[in-house]
C-alpha cells in the first residue's frame, strides 16, 4: 500500500483469525490489529480526526498549543500529529503510567504534566480541565467528550470490520473514552441486525479508584449505554493471562488491554459454543506490547506480573 504521508496511512488495519483460540469452526475469533497504525495504537484514528476537526473549525492556528488528558496512547498520537502539523502539545498524564510512554512523548516533543497516581485518569481529566480554564488560548481536544473521536470509528473502524467480516456477530473492545465502542458500535448496529456490542473494562488495583467519595466518579460524555449489549469488568490477572495466551497460542505480542478484551471475547465464544450457536467475534487489539515491557507484564510468573502491575494504569 502506498500513501502520500504517514498521516494518510491511518487505519486499514488487518483483521486476523485466531484459529488456536477459537472454540470451533462455527465460533471464530478475529483480532483487528490496531498496533499497525502510524504510532502503534488505535488512538491514531481518533487523535488525527480530532486535530483535523479542530483545524476545520478554525480552533487551531499555526503554533497553537494543544492540551489533552491521556494515559498515554492518545498523547503519543497527538504528539506525532502536532509535530507534523506545527502545533505544541501539553499532555496531562497520571504518574503511574509506563516509562516508555513518557520517553515516546518527549521524543515527539510533547510537554508532560503529571497528575497524582491516586484517582488515575479521573485526576488527569480534572487537572487538564483546570489548566484549560487557566489558559484560554490553549486548545483542549478532550477525547472523552469530542464527537470526532467516536466519528473516526463510525467512519473507519466500523466500515473496515463490515467489509472484512460481513458475518460478524459480536464486536468487543476496551472501554476508556468509549469512542471506539460508540462509533464502531453505532455503525455495526445500523448495518448488522442483532450484532452484539460488548465492552471490556479494565479493573485496576485499588489505588486507581482512590477517590475521596463516589460523587467524584467520572463517566465520559461520549458514553451512551444504549449502544452496548453488555459490559464486563476484567481483572488484571485475567487480562495478563489472556495477553500471554494471545502470544503463546497465536504469536501476537499485544498490550495488556488486548488481553482484557480477549478475556471477554473468549467468554462470549465459550457461551456461543455451549449454546450451539454460530459466532464471528471481532475484537480490538489496541496496541502492541512494546510500551509495557518495563511494567514486567511479560516477565516471570503471572502472579509476579500481577503484583508488579498493582497500582499501574495498564491500559
Amino acid at each position: 500500500m502506498r500513501y502520500d504521508s504517514l498521516l494518510d496511512s491511518v487505519g486499514h488495519t488487518p483483521l486476523v483469525g485466531l484459529p488456536m483460540l477459537s472454540p470451533s469452526p462455527e465460533v471464530r475469533l478475529w483480532a483487528k490489529l490496531e498496533d499497525r497504525n502510524p504510532t502503534g495504537s488505535v488512538k491514531d484514528r481518533a487523535a488525527f480526526r480530532m486535530v483535523e476537526q479542530a483545524e476545520k473549525e478554525g480552533l487551531l492556528q499555526p503554533g497553537a498549543t494543544i492540551l489533552e488528558p491521556t494515559s498515554g496512547n492518545t498523547g503519543i498520537s497527538l504528539a506525532m500529529g502536532a509535530k507534523l502539523r506545527g502545533y505544541r502539545l501539553t499532555v496531562v498524564m497520571p504518574e503511574n503510567t509506563s516509562a516508555e510512554r513518557r520517553q515516546l512523548l518527549e521524543m515527539y516533543g510533547a510537554k508532560i504534566i503529571y497528575s497524582p497516581a491516586a484517582g488515575g485518569s479521573n485526576e488527569a481529566v480534572r487537572v487538564a480541565k483546570r489548566l484549560a480554564a487557566e489558559n484560554p488560548d490553549w486548545v483542549m481536544l478532550y477525547q472523552y467528550g469530542n464527537e470526532a473521536n467516536a466519528r473516526a470509528h463510525y467512519e473507519t473502524t466500523g466500515p473496515e470490520l463490515l467489509a472484512d467480516l460481513p458475518e460478524i456477530t459480536h464486536f468487543v473492545a476496551g472501554l476508556g473514552t468509549t469512542g471506539t465502542l460508540m462509533g464502531t458500535g453505532r455503525f455495526l448496529r445500523e448495518h448488522v441486525p442483532g450484532v452484539k456490542i460488548v465492552a471490556a473494562e479494565p479493573r485496576y488495583g485499588e489505588l486507581v479508584y482512590g477517590l475521596r467519595n463516589v460523587d467524584e466518579g467520572f463517566v465520559p460524555e461520549l458514553y451512551d449505554e444504549s449502544v452496548l449489549t453488555t459490559r464486563f469488568s476484567v481483572s488484571s490477572a485475567d487480562a495478563l493471562a489472556a495477553t500471554r495466551e494471545l502470544l503463546n497460542a497465536e504469536g501476537i505480542f499485544a498490550g495488556i488491554s488486548a488481553g482484557c478484551v480477549l478475556h471477554a471475547a473468549m467468554a462470549l465464544g465459550a457461551k456461543a459454543a455451549e449454546a450451539g450457536e454460530r459466532a464471528d467475534i471481532a475484537l480490538i487489539v489496541a496496541d502492541g506490547g512494546w510500551k509495557y515491557l518495563s511494567t514486567g507484564a511479560y516477565d516471570g510468573t503471572l502472579d509476579q506480573a500481577e503484583e508488579r502491575l498493582e497500582g499501574q494504569l495498564w491500559a
Binding site: 488528558p69 494515559s71 492518545t74 488515575g120 488527569a124 476508556g176 479508584y209 464486563f232 495498564w314 491500559a315
Partner: protein
C-alpha cells in the same frame, strides 16, 4: 454459602474497613437491603431515586448489572458482586 460483595476503598468506612462482606437475597436490591441492615448507610451510597447512583458501577460475576436488570437483577448463593466507582479508565 452466601453472596460475596466486594467493597471499594472509599466505601469501607461503612464496613469497618472490610474489603468484602457477605449477604443474602434473591435480587440485587434485596442483597443491598440485607447488607445495609448490618452496615448502615451503605445503601444510600449505592442507590438513589430507585436506581444505582450515576458514578457507581456494580458487577455480578464481572458483568455490569445495568445490562442484566439493574437493581432487580437476580442473584444467588455463590455469586460475587463487585462495587466500583466509575473512573475515566484506561486505554485513553
Amino acid at each position: 454459602m452466601a453472596i460475596e460483595v466486594r467493597i471499594p476503598t472509599i466505601l469501607r468506612t461503612y464496613t469497618d474497613g472490610a474489603k468484602q462482606v457477605e449477604g443474602a437475597g434473591s435480587t440485587l436490591s434485596e442483597l443491598i437491603e440485607d447488607i445495609d441492615a448490618r452496615h448502615s448507610g451503605l445503601r444510600d451510597r449505592l442507590v438513589a431515586d430507585g436506581g444505582l447512583r450515576r458514578f457507581v458501577n456494580v458487577y455480578l460475576n464481572d458483568e455490569d448489572v445495568r445490562f442484566l436488570g439493574g437493581l432487580e437483577t437476580p442473584v444467588k448463593d455463590g455469586d460475587t458482586v463487585t462495587v466500583l466507582p466509575a473512573v475515566a479508565g484506561g486505554a485513553a
